[in-house]
């Protein structure tokens, strides 16, 4: 059975812009992988068509079905993790084996406050 995981140092899930994230990507696979990639990306969810942007990719050189590799990524300045009524911007790390045959995603928060920026109240008559 295949098992992928991403461990971020100190189990940190919230980061400020420009902060460096360190951690370990781990995998236990039944077969030898052809490729293992860690992507830092953001994507949108909400009413409209989803958008996605891969900000950084780390390709691990490996021929071992079970392995772990350290990584270090300096986070960009934005966009911030955000949720409004029409759109959410979500940051995540994604560990991908063999171009998507196996995938593990871990969400993170990127914002100056360490919390998702929300615009979740409005004045209205109900």
């Amino acid at each position: 059975m295949n098992n992928l995981s991403i461990e971020i140092q100190d189990n940190q899930t919230a980061f400020t812009p420009g902060e460096t994230m360190q951690g370990t990507a781990q995998w236990q696979l039944d077969d030898i992988p052809k490729s293992v990639t860690l992507n830092l990306l953001w994507y949108t969810q909400g009413k409209g068509t989803e958008d996605v942007s891969i900000v950084e990719s780390i390709h691990f050189d490996t021929y071992a079905p079970t392995d772990q590799k350290p990584f270090s990524i300096t986070l960009p300045n934005g966009p911030y993790s955000f949720s409004g009524k029409l759109l959410s911007i979500i940051w995540a790390l994604e560990l991908i084996v063999d171009k998507g045959s196996e995938c593990h995603r871990q969400e993170i928060t990127l914002s100056p406050t360490g919390q998702e920026i929300t615009i979740n109240t409005s004045s209205a008559t109900v």
Binding site: K47, L87, S123
Partner: protein
Amino acid sequence: MTLVSAMKARDNPFAIHRLQQTPYHLADTTWCDLLDKLESFNNRAAVIGQHGSGKTTLLNKLYSRFKAMGRCPVTAFANEDTPLTWRQLKQTLTANPDRQILLLDGACHLGRLTWYRLKRYTHKRQIGLIITTHNPGLLPTAYHCRTDITLLQNILKELLPPHEIPNETSLEKLYQQHNQNIREVLRTLYDQWAYQKK
């Protein structure tokens, strides 16, 4: 004036990613029969239906199924605002040498010459060509997307807990207000949920 908590976009049950996770409700056929029918047309066939009847959703589901079958599908999308040129289509096909099937959404928006070139190019190279279009005639029809209130109810059952599903009368009203266009009904429901009081 009352302060209303708006639902986060990511949590809205009618967000696009939630809709994409719902199973496609085929009418009067099964996936197996539909794939057999497409195969009998050498995967050169049309999915037809009016606006908001589920053609694009069906094409997306077919993409996943063909990919899982190792058939290397590629996609292209045309609409009134972005009509594809032959050059763009050829680039899509040549950039993916392993492709076996082109899934073209909005074939009715191609120019006549572009359509003719695409049809001839894919036929000569035995590339499948599955299209969506509003009316029959471009390729043999493999499936006709139709909507009804039961389909809408079935979709809502996938998205909402039973007690939150609007009653049949208000659903029927919404459905008719949007000229039986389920996509528009779901967009309206998105807005209603986005502003609902928590």
